[in-house]
């Protein structure tokens, strides 16, 4: 019986009790860490006046600039630029046509001058007609070979160690963790499970439409160059509604693109939690906010205090930034 009991203890999925001092080890004991732990303990503790049943413990995370870095430009944009370069021989017209021409000349600033719209046009042009299997293969190849221009590391190592610990900590306390990103849903799904422990059906993102058809008698899903959904700003609560179908209990972001996601989350009844990661560490990562071309954070900084949202000061609050350190 004792051995059986031990096996049961080891195989049981009941959360293992960890001493509070040992939680979130890459977070400095600066107040932010304690605010997170205090919130989680009050909603997860049976008998607490703020107890929330497991089925309502939903936490949503932005990806770019919140779970992984987003400088010098969104990583998916680098993927799209690389793909334009690879496909250029089949598209001689791109040499004359913006924004493709700027990408091929290496002038990324001009290529991105058209903002989200230009990026979307490039994404659709480089993926339309691909089956989902072909798209997955192209992205997997890129993820395994491409390197970050500044650090030389694979992009999947440019993730934030404190946030990985936070994802694990929340799941250990009965939370379901979702990604709610402006990035492409199919792009994210190719690494979210291995890197973040977030399965494909818990990823929400932007998308183009897909079409079901038979090719040589075999069914395929083909990406078509038609916008399906942009999961950004006012789109984030809509994406949460369509995919998750419940208002989250906790929301984590880093830019004004996450403002409405935090607003929607924290407007719910009972205890709610909103947090913004502020990029303040020019030495270990990057420092940027109100004037940045990616991950612009301005209104969020202005209103966080009055709305009761926590702001992470990356430089002060994070002992470690990337897992490799």
């Amino acid at each position: 019986m004792k051995l059986a009991c031990l096996i049961l203890i080891l195989s049981a999925s009941s959360p293992v009790v960890v001493r509070s001092e040992e939680l979130l080890p890459s977070w400095n004991k600066n107040g932010t860490r304690e605010a997170i732990i205090t919130f989680v303990e009050k909603v997860a503790k049976e008998g607490s006046p703020d107890f929330v049943p497991v089925r309502d413990r939903i936490a949503v995370f932005d990806n770019d600039g919140c779970l992984w870095a987003e400088q010098p430009v969104y990583f998916q944009a680098i993927y799209i630029f690389d793909r334009i370069k690879a496909l250029a021989p089949q598209h001689p017209e791109w040499k004359e046509k913006e924004p493709f021409a700027s990408v091929l000349k290496g002038d990324l600033k001009s290529a991105l001058a058209g903002g989200e719209h230009a990026l979307l046009e490039m994404a659709m042009a480089t993926h339309a007609g691909l089956t989902t299997d072909e798209f997955n293969e192209a992205v997997r190849d890129w993820l395994s070979s491409a390197r970050h221009p500044k650090t030389g590391r694979p992009f999947t190592e440019m993730v934030y160690q404190p946030m990985l610990e936070l994802l694990d900590y929340l799941r250990a306390n009965g939370f379901k963790t979702f990604i709610v990103s402006g990035g492409g849903i199919d792009f994210l799904r190719l690494f979210a499970e291995d890197v973040y422990g977030v399965p494909p059906h818990q990823v929400v993102g932007s998308s183009v439409k897909a079409k079901y058809e038979l090719r040589d008698g075999r069914p395929v899903l083909v990406k078509i160059p038609e916008l399906d959904f942009i999961d950004d700003k006012e789109g984030k609560p809509v994406g949460i509604h369509q995919h998750i179908g419940q208002r989250p209990l906790m929301a984590f972001g880093n830019s004004d693109g996450d403002f409405q996601m935090l607003e929607w989350t924290t407007a719910g009844t009972g205890p709610r939690f909103g947090l913004l990661v502020h990029h303040t560490d020019a030495d270990r990562e990057w420092a940027y906010d109100r004037e940045s071309h990616v991950g612009r954070l301005s209104r969020g900084l202005d209103e966080a205090a009055q709305r009761g949202w926590i702001v992470v000061d990356m430089k002060e609050d994070w002992k470690t930034i990337f897992p490799a350190e």
Copy 2:
């Protein structure tokens, strides 16, 4: 230690071993039940040549006619008719306007003559402008008070006991169970968790668009009369891709609206499983297939054998149909 051990045994989520003869008790031992068990055991058993890791154990279920009944007409249509009657005083123009006029006269056959399009028009007209909270309240009220016209039971009791056991059995073997229905995603989510054990984020269905806005400073999501997605026929693999992001291992349906979902599922590599519920029991439920106005099943019957899909003969295979029996 013994008490601690007992508590651990009770709280552990490791599946309890049940003798094979006791599995799926509402299924007759006719071959169909055994085909299900054989498949699940071969994919879930560590070391089996057909072993599939837990992360890929995805099972998708149609709802109308597969998990609950769909006669004399889809239950959500009855909800929409009831709502039209309730809202009629505010819409005097409906007395003259089809399909609303037929609903108000009680002529449901004419009301549905326009098929899916007419139903969708009614659904949008009766829900546009509602916030998601208002919609949820209206549907919850209806679910708790409305009764099935033939049996007099709440609609949530018109579910199939053998399918409830199947959902539990699959989850006990590490499967994630999803609903993939032509019905409205927001409608389904209001009972799927309590009735089927399927949480909101594991429900895929048809939808209208929603818009995020502030009303008196409070954020709301408002349903707008614009089609977002129809989750039927070729739409089902698309809905699966957008929401689940993985090809299922098992698919369960009952009509030609599920054909492509089964086709897409069983075209995957390795072991796959497709099953159609055939309504053959006019005494205990209803008998219908090729000529039915709801849940038409014709191509599926013709091609099931050559495609290796199992067909449930409700009359022969199910010992019990509804939980109340």
